[in-house]
Amino acid sequence: MSLSLALNSAQTALSVTSQQTAITARNITGANDPFYSRKTANVATTGLGSTYVASIGRAQDQALYARMLEARSDAAARTAHLEGLGRLALTVGDPQDDFSVAGALGAFQNALQMHADGPSDPILAGAVLGRAQDLAERLNLATRTVQGARATADAEMATSVGTINDLLARFETVNRAVVAGTAAGSDVTDHLDTRARILTELSQEIGVTTITRGDNDMVIYTDSGVTLFEKTARAVTFERTFAYDAGIDGAAVFADGVPITGPNATMAIESGALFGHATLRDETSGVYQKQLDEIARGLILATAETDRLNDPPVLAPLAGLFTWDGGPALPPGTAAIDNLSARIRVNPGVDPAQGGDLTAIRDGGINGAAYDYNPADAASYSGRLQGLLGTLGAQQPFDATAGVDPDTTLARFAAGSVGWLEAARKQADAEAAYQVTFLERTQEALSNATGVNLDEELALMLELERSYGASARIIAAVDAMLDSLLQAVR
């Protein structure tokens, strides 16, 4: 029966070769898909000379892949944080444009200086008022920008959580197909590719670690160990906060019922875009807002009016040129007051448009005669203005938790705040650049390890073509042999 056996072997060889060709074709199709892993046919032979494709293998490198996931999460976290810092940096702009609060403060002080030299000139007084309003507005705007950045980060977190849940749901479907396929021994390599792709997308949003169980079943944990997927997808929940101010803390993200972001998280995540946005929303913005609030507080305190009738003073100092919604009393205490930078405004008592009197800038007395520095209404009285310049240029105690040198002048504090923010941005940029480069390198290494090389596939295809031809030749030869046998039967 050896002729039949030869025929049979050649026939199985043909079928194996064509299956291998199909896989090569798949490889070539997937050559430019970054998530495609190269497939190979694992060929086995049986005792009687026939061959068959026992399974389809998939090039993989678990260690590299895990590193790539990690790098992707880190890069996403840094990039998200950097984006947020970029939004905060809008409050600073280019130092050249003096768009920052520090710039507005400088302009205000300069207007005061001009006015001090010409106290009788209402144009200069108007300039002081204008600069003061500008400064107050700049502070208000900065607060709105910071809180807007927090709201944006919150929205990004909501999007991120939505994406995570969506991806986990898709993961559940694919994972089930992988497990069932693996159990049934069918070709699950494409499902594995899809699963790897989903996991890669997931790592963009949140840092993950995985373990693989029997039948290729995968379990996903956050980088802090909270279960995200184990047979079923766990719910990741997040309550959006739509409007922010300094006193409002954003809600935490819960995974599997455990808080994973925010100050109360016992198992806080450490990477992924979600982490980057949460850091910006809960930490960076808070500190920066505190700095703005401290600038506002310093400004109100430095421009306060004191009792002029009694020495030592009996009446409490009250808010002067700058006031707040708690005015005319000064902001109490020595710690930052939430939202003060949004609540600060120029005292209506000096604004003619609001029924005030411009000369109050020069003379004081917004809070009544007891606070009038220039009872004689001398037109060129500059004592108050020089006094303001003095207090604005003097050292003040600031909240030590604001991240800037607490014992310094208002101008230096404002400049320090700019420096703090830009330092954070520079650091974030450097980290993001490093992580992105690292991610690119890891992806390249992974692609080299598991991706397709077209030349290699083409060479393999030539080989397959040859082997197909050889098998066909065997069939032809056996055919010819049987032919000659049949011709013998006459």
């Binding site: 050896s2 039949s4 670690t209 169980r213």
Partner: protein
């Protein structure tokens, strides 16, 4: 007398050769029949009594043999219910009347009732596995049932065992007042790490188990498990009901391994007791990392596919990837396979000469393993058949010449009297 004898001998030769030709025809016809075993014709001579002076020609008688024990080549298919045997065993099949036969033709497909039927319509026989694998009755074909892979109901399995292995951070701070341990189930409960696992109750409902780990002191931890269903909205403590179980873990400061074999014995509500093995937990100076997490059991799900292992166990593969052994396919063997009686449809029935049937599990005692996704081809070799055909044609012609010669001699004899 002897002249007639010559003619009869010629006739017997022709009859024998035509019989051989018939087997060749059969073989060639079935050259592509899966599981077909080649038939061959053996001849034996008939000798008449002879005196010293006279030779009486006898004759030849054909004997048909079947090369049943000779294994054919295997071809691979894409159906998991196409079966081949690598060895000397036979599948046990039965016809519509329940009469058992043996066969090697394994091209089975499920019929409308879910029974596996081969190309000739014979049902594959096996033993149902319900829980434990039943012992095979060695010599009784009657105890077998037709293998049915159809599904009668959604199948669920309650969880009974599981393993959880993770590393706990040795540098974590022990839970200190005012925080309390999770086992107290108070609002002030604090913990170092938590993970959740899915288990199944008797009806296959998923029960999510929250496992909390809290450090109680140097090298001592407490593992507590709660039912997620009792958790307050939004998670956290306190749960609506107390912990399902709690166990103290003590780690060896020398190597960070857990001492003893702690386990959480969880009474799954509406399910079976589940023993969650924690004996592979470690406590070293690294973050909380889960190494292994598994719980058996499965949710109700439909059979998606059938997988047959090489030891003849039929597994039902469910939608969710679970596998369950449902049937055992025994293989049969007889002392003299070549003496089995071939029946239509590539099956063989037992005959007197074949010896008694023995049943056994695949892979045992030379029965051979079952190859899923393959078929055994006929063991006919066309070239050999064609050669025998030519040979037998020539022999037939020669025999006819003998007859012709005898006939011509008789003619001569008859023409002696004119």
């Amino acid at each position: 007398m002897s002249l007639y004898g010559v003619m009869r001998t010629g006739v017997s030769g022709m009859a024998a050769q035509s019989s051989k030709l018939a087997t060749v025809a059969d073989n060639i016809a079935n050259a592509n029949t899966n599981g077909y075993k080649r038939a061959k014709t053996e001849f034996s001579s008939l000798i008449l009594g002879n005196s010293s002076g006279q030779y009486n020609s006898g004759g030849v008688t054909p004997h048909v043999r079947h090369a049943i024990s000779q294994q054919g080549a295997q071809v691979f298919t894409t159906s998991s219910t196409d079966l081949a045997i690598n060895g000397r065993g036979f599948f046990v099949v039965s016809d519509g009347n329940g009469t058992p036969y043996l066969t090697r033709a394994g091209s089975f497909v499920p019929n409308g009732a879910g029974e596996l039927v081969n190309a000739a319509g014979f049902k594959l026989m096996g033993q149902r596995i319900d829980g434990a694998t039943p012992a095979i009755v060695v010599n009784d074909l009657q105890g077998l049932q037709a293998v049915n892979i159809g599904q009668t109901a959604l199948e669920a399995t309650a969880s009974t065992a599981g393993t959880f292995a993770a590393n706990l951070d040795s540098n974590a701070d022990a839970i200190a007042a005012p925080a309390t341990l999770p086992s107290g189930n108070a609002a002030t409960a604090a913990y170092e790490a938590t993970s959740s696992l899915v288990a199944y109750d008797n009806l296959g409902n998923a029960v999510v188990l929250d496992v909390y780990f809290a450090k109680t002191g140097p090298n001592t931890w407490e593992a507590t498990v709660f039912n997620r269903a009792d958790a307050p909205a939004g998670g956290g403590f306190p749960y609506g009901a107390g912990p399902l179980d709690t166990v103290a873990l003590t780690f060896d400061p020398a190597n960070g391994r857990v001492t003893g074999a702690p386990a959480l014995n969880i009474a799954i509500p509406g399910g079976q007791p589940l023993a969650l093995d924690l004996s592979q937990m470690t406590q070293v100076g690294a973050d909380y990392t889960v190494m292994r997490a598994s719980v058996n059991g499965n949710a109700p799900s439909a059979i998606r596919d059938v997988e047959i292992s090489d030891d003849g166990i039929v597994y039902a593969v469910f939608e969710n990837g679970e596998r369950r052994a449902t049937w055992q396919l025994p293989l049969a063997d007889v002392t003299s396979p070549d003496n089995l009686i071939p029946q239509a449809g590539n099956v063989y029935s037992l005959g007197l000469e074949s010896g008694d049937v023995k049943l056994g599990a695949a892979g045992q005692g030379g029965l051979g393993g079952i190859v899923s996704g393959a078929l055994e081809q006929s063991n006919v070799d066309l070239a050999a058949e064609l050669t025998s055909m030519i040979e037998s044609q020539r022999s037939y012609t020669a025999n006819s010449k003998v007859f012709q010669t005898g006939s011509e001699l008789l003619d001569v004899l008859v023409n002696l009297k004119r």
